[in-house]
């Protein structure tokens, strides 16, 4: 293990760890919003099926809810790029 580390060029290990970290950041950030968007859209579909005449406002609110939920995943996406730098 030690001599493998010694053979690497300077900064290679750091770059590799950064890449792994960026992957973990984006993967972790996508879990919650994924579940959240599922809940938002599922409930919106239930509402539209129960009251088709209200589907206009429901759709607008659904997109708003998706936008707020999705923001967290997008922060993770941007943070992953910042980490990889």
């Amino acid at each position: 293990m030690l001599h493998v580390l010694a053979e690497q060029g300077a900064g290679e290990l750091e770059a590799g760890l950064k890449t792994i970290g960026a992957g973990i950041v984006y993967g972790g950030a996508a879990i919650g919003p994924g579940i959240g968007i599922g809940i938002v859209v599922g409930n919106a579909i239930t509402a539209m099926a129960r009251q088709p005449e209200a589907s206009g406002p429901v759709r607008t609110t659904m997109f708003l809810g998706i936008a707020f939920t999705e923001a967290l995943a997008l922060f993770g996406f941007v943070l992953a790029f910042l980490l990889k730098g």
């Binding site: 406002p57 607008t60 997109f63 708003l64 936008a67 707020f68 999705e70 923001a71 997008l74 922060f75 996406f77 941007v78 790029f81």
Partner: protein, 256 residues
């Protein structure tokens, strides 16, 4: 025989050669795209409004349905009747972001201008200044601060927790998420299209002959994703505008 693909770095996909000026303050293709967008929008609405007829045709038809969409789909849903005076601003914002996003799928350009953080950030700062100004104008400076920091209907011990959260979320998270949402969505779409383009190009030009026919698969997916990105461009312009309308509407009527 190589199977490896060289994916270009992210910075390579969004940076363009400086045509005129220095590295810090210069004209690139993206600058030209912004100027073109302004010209296109201006020309479109001028042409649509120049020969107004009772029964609209052509450009006037499109312009009228755009105004209708902004009024009924965005303003009435979020600001109510008195927000209708904001129609020109909201229509400008919506069409500007829409055209900037549509560069992503336009053959020959293939670069969403909003994938540069500068443009969404600048628009978000504009919205931030606007909704704060509207709140101060309609409720007074201290009234606005009080309504923001101490939302009514909360038992007083909870204010220890609620007040910092409300201040941070209104003054910092709102503009940040507004800018990052538009930027990250368009950048992600751009990277997605670029990856599939690189993949299909790599397969079509592969040294191994048996790989070449399979290049059709990523290429077909690339075309399908183009259609999806048209939807995303529209949706992101819509979401940015409706969130701006919601923030300005909230500043106009405090919660009570």
């Amino acid at each position: 025989m190589t199977f490896g693909l060289e994916f270009p770095a992210v910075s390579q996909l969004v940076q363009w050669k400086v045509i005129w000026g220095s590295d810090w303050y210069g004209v690139t293709r993206v600058t030209i795209q912004i100027i073109l967008s302004v010209v296109i929008i201006l020309a479109f609405f001028l042409i649509a409004g120049s020969k107004r007829k009772l029964v609209p045709t052509g450009a006037q038809n499109v312009a009228e349905s755009a105004v209708d969409f902004v009024q009924e789909g965005i303003i009435l849903q979020s600001m109510g009747e008195e927000g209708l005076s904001w129609t020109p601003f909201m229509l400008t914002l919506f069409s500007f972001i829409l055209v900037l996003n549509f560069w992503e799928v336009l053959p020959g350009f293939q670069m969403p201008v909003t994938a540069h953080i500068a443009i969404p950030a600048e628009l978000a700062i504009l919205i931030w200044v606007l909704f704060n100004a509207v709140g101060i104008k309609s409720q007074g400076f201290f009234g606005y601060l009080k309504g923001m920091a101490f939302p009514p209907g909360v038992p007083w011990p909870l204010y220890i927790l609620v007040t910092p959260i409300e201040i941070v979320s209104t003054l910092f998270v709102r503009p940040l998420s507004l800018a990052v949402r538009l930027f990250a969505n368009m950048l992600a779409g751009h990277l997605l299209l670029a990856s599939f383009a690189v993949l299909s190009a790599g397969m079509f030009t592969a040294e191994a002959v048996f790989l070449k026919p399979f290049g059709v698969l990523p290429f077909g997916l690339l075309i399908a994703l183009m259609g999806f990105e048209v939807l995303v461009s529209f949706l992101q312009a819509f979401i940015f505008t409706i969130l701006a309308a919601v923030y300005i509407g909230l500043a106009m009527h405090p919660e009570h």
